[in-house]
């Protein structure tokens, strides 16, 4: 199955946007993981902006970066959001209050706790009424989202923006589910070559416990393994280095193989 990649957005430790991340991923600049700054969403009214947590700011930032590169409008763009854990800070706050006698949780926290909260805020920020879904595939969330977005682009014959993101859980949840750093990636995928494409991605789903691509660089591989959205790094590295074939582990021993050829 083929899709044409028109735009890339990325935000993670030491990877602040595609332009800055590309030389790092190409091996031309050192990878120096640091604090991830999540920008506020300028397109939201102030009241809504104040209600957004880290997952919303992260996912909207990488989605908008990818769309800007693709030169496409967000309002009629179908979206696939993929995340393993949703908003851990909000879930922690709710669980903490529910463990008390009062159990009185905040209404804003409650509607922010849904897995599709980033999709909802995205729609508000971009006036996007197009179909949007929010998926989970645990550690295979990126591969799951990529496959679903590529299928949707081809079957519905329209461009689709994939946004994968995950942020660390706070303690005590962190001890039960460790996510490293905040990482988000946005990819604009089109079923046809619009003349603006950066690369073609030929995607194949394989079964039978095949191994995915790993990095020699210990710090980069730690990030890849530590955050479900950072499982996209082999693809981003291939794109930064001029193409190649990589594999990303999905769920139940499946592997999403991607043949990347630059335009």
């Amino acid at each position: 199955m083929r899709v044409y990649l028109e735009g890339i957005g990325v935000l993670g430790p030491g990877l602040a946007g595609w332009t800055a991340a590309k030389p790092v991923l190409a091996g031309e600049a050192a990878f120096v993981p640091g604090e991830v700054v999540l920008p506020p969403i300028a397109a939201l009214p102030p009241a809504e902006r104040r209600r957004t947590g880290g997952t919303v700011r992260l996912s909207v930032a990488v989605g908008l970066e990818a769309l800007a590169q693709a030169g496409r409008a967000a309002c009629d763009m179908a979206t696939v959001f993929a995340s393993s854990g949703g908003d851990g800070d909000t879930i922690h706050e709710i669980l903490t209050v529910l463990a008390t006698e009062q159990r009185e949780i905040s209404p804003t926290r409650f509607h922010n706790s849904v897995h599709n909260a980033p999709s909802g805020y995205w729609a508000l920020a971009c006036a996007a009424t197009a179909p949007s879904t929010s998926l989970c595939g645990f550690d295979g969330s990126f591969a799951t989202g990529l496959l679903d977005a590529a299928v949707q682009a081809n079957i519905d014959a329209r461009p689709v923006t994939l946004i994968a993101y995950d942020t660390p859980y706070p303690e005590p949840l962190r001890a039960a589910r460790r996510v490293t750093g905040s990482f988000g990636v946005g990819l604009v995928l089109s079923p046809q070559d619009s003349g603006r494409s950066l690369a073609t991605l030929d995607i194949t789903l394989r079964h039978g416990n095949a191994s995915g691509t790993v990095f020699d660089d210990t710090a980069l591989d730690e990030l890849r393994r530590g955050n479900p959205a950072a499982r996209s790094l082999p693809l981003l590295v291939a794109l930064a280095r001029g193409g190649g074939r990589i594999g990303i582990e999905g769920i139940a021993g499946s592997l999403v193989e991607i043949d990347t050829v630059m335009a």
Binding site: L98, F110, P131, L147, L173
Partner: protein, 398 residues
């Protein structure tokens, strides 16, 4: 948008507060019985009704699957045991191969009840959660699919849609696209959402729960009753056999209006309805009955009536079955797809238990009582927080 290839609902199974399996569900729908009762779940003190499923506390998971043990997966297991579903999936697996059957599920809160318990049992000194808490196979949103992969022996493409109360309706879309793309030949679609304090107190915090059994479309409606449910459908390619129902179309949209409140004129709902009709290649006049989202909130029901009237006018019969089951949240899409299929197969449109007089401002043809009528094609609506909307079109075999 192109017209979608119809997919057979080759087998269905369901558990709601109405009962276990299709027969008990059908009996309740035809007799107007409601499964709602005052909510006593987990020492609840909120004045609210719920559609609780009894017997889950006594259930045991199948051998070797104890790691998945939680209320949500028990509920899924209970549904899988109904209506010959396990045998039908085993047969499909033998015919098609384990990698050729996809798993496209939905849930809003998965096994978060386990995390609620774990937070209540935190170590007083360190704040740590008990070691017995297994996040991955209970609380995580994907846990439901991981459980079904193991239980059904399936290894095709799998995902969990978590789009609040439209989750399991939207999962039919993922399934139909994956089958159309040739990544699988058949799919298990559906999901489970079980009672938890997060949703009971969450909806209460927004002032969206009623102190009485919910009354969709009623002039005095004042909120939802939460229910729990699980349902699954085996979707297969090929022409429907006599008596079978097929998925004919599906439309998705976003309101882009508010996180927890629908567009007042139902513009997002209307988009989903229109896209579902286009995907089925049908005109509004070809729909014989619409199973509404109809959760019984003042704003939500009015917005949906607006959208319904704009598309269908005053003639198309419609009703919400939330007064039967309560609002089963992420499971509502598949539960109501199954209700719609039963309505087609048995020639009746469901009514609306607990609803007294329909809101005088409503313009759609709302059915209060179950009504015998031949139904060839039915629409089912599911909407959720984040402004997400999904409509399905289901039809009888040609």
């Amino acid at each position: 948008m192109s017209v979608m290839q119809p997919l057979r609902l080759a087998r269905m199974c369901v558990v709601t507060s109405l009962g276990r399996g299709l027969n008990e569900t059908l009996e309740a729908l035809r007799s107007g019985r409601s499964g709602l009762a005052p909510c006593r779940f987990e020492g609840n003190e909120l004045a609210t009704y719920a559609g609780e499923i009894m017997g889950l506390d006594e259930m045991r998971m199948a051998d070797g699957l104890g790691v998945f043990d939680c209320r949500n997966n028990r509920l899924a297991e209970l549904a899988l045991q109904q209506d010959g579903f396990l045998a039908a999936v085993a047969d499909a697996r033998d015919r098609l191969g384990a990698t050729r059957i996809g798993l496209f599920l939905g849930t809003s809160t998965s096994g978060i009840l386990e995390a609620e318990h774990a937070y209540r049992d935190r170590d007083r000194a360190t704040g740590a959660l008990p070691a017995s808490f297994n996040y991955e196979s209970t609380h995580n949103t994907f846990a439901l699919a991981a459980f079904l992969q193991a239980r059904l022996g399936l290894s095709g493409p799998a995902l969990v849609v978590s789009c609040a109360c439209a989750s399991t309706a939207k999962a039919f879309g993922n399934a139909s696209r994956m089958i159309a793309a040739g990544l699988c030949d058949a799919a298990v679609v559906g999901g489970a959402d079980s009672l938890c304090l997060t949703t009971l107190h969450g909806f209460a915090s927004l002032g969206l729960t009623s102190a009485a059994p919910c009354r969709p479309a009623d002039a005095t409606r004042d909120g939802i009753s939460i229910g729990e449910a699980a349902g699954f459908v085996l979707l297969e390619k090929g022409p429907a056999q006599a008596g079978e129902v097929s998925l004919l179309g599906l439309g998705e949209s976003n309101d882009a209006y508010h996180m927890s409140s629908p567009h007042p004129q139902g513009l997002g709902a209307r988009l989903a309805i229109e896209r579902a009709l286009a995907s089925a290649g049908m005109a509004a006049g070809q729909i014989d009955y619409v199973n509404l989202h109809g959760t019984a909130t003042p704003v939500g029901d009015a917005a949906e009536d607006h959208a319904m009237f704009d598309v269908f006018g005053p003639g198309t019969p419609c009703s919400s079955t939330k007064g039967h089951t309560g609002h089963t949240l992420g499971a509502a899409g598949v539960v109501e797809a199954i209700v719609s299929a039963l309505a087609i197969q048995h020639g009746f449109a469901p009514g609306s238990p607990n609803t007294g007089a329909v809101d005088a401002g409503f313009r759609s043809r709302y059915l209060l009582a179950p009504t015998e009528m031949k139904l060839r094609t039915v629409m089912s609506n599911s909407f959720g927080f984040g402004g997400t909307n999904c409509s399905l079109v289901l039809g009888a075999a040609a």
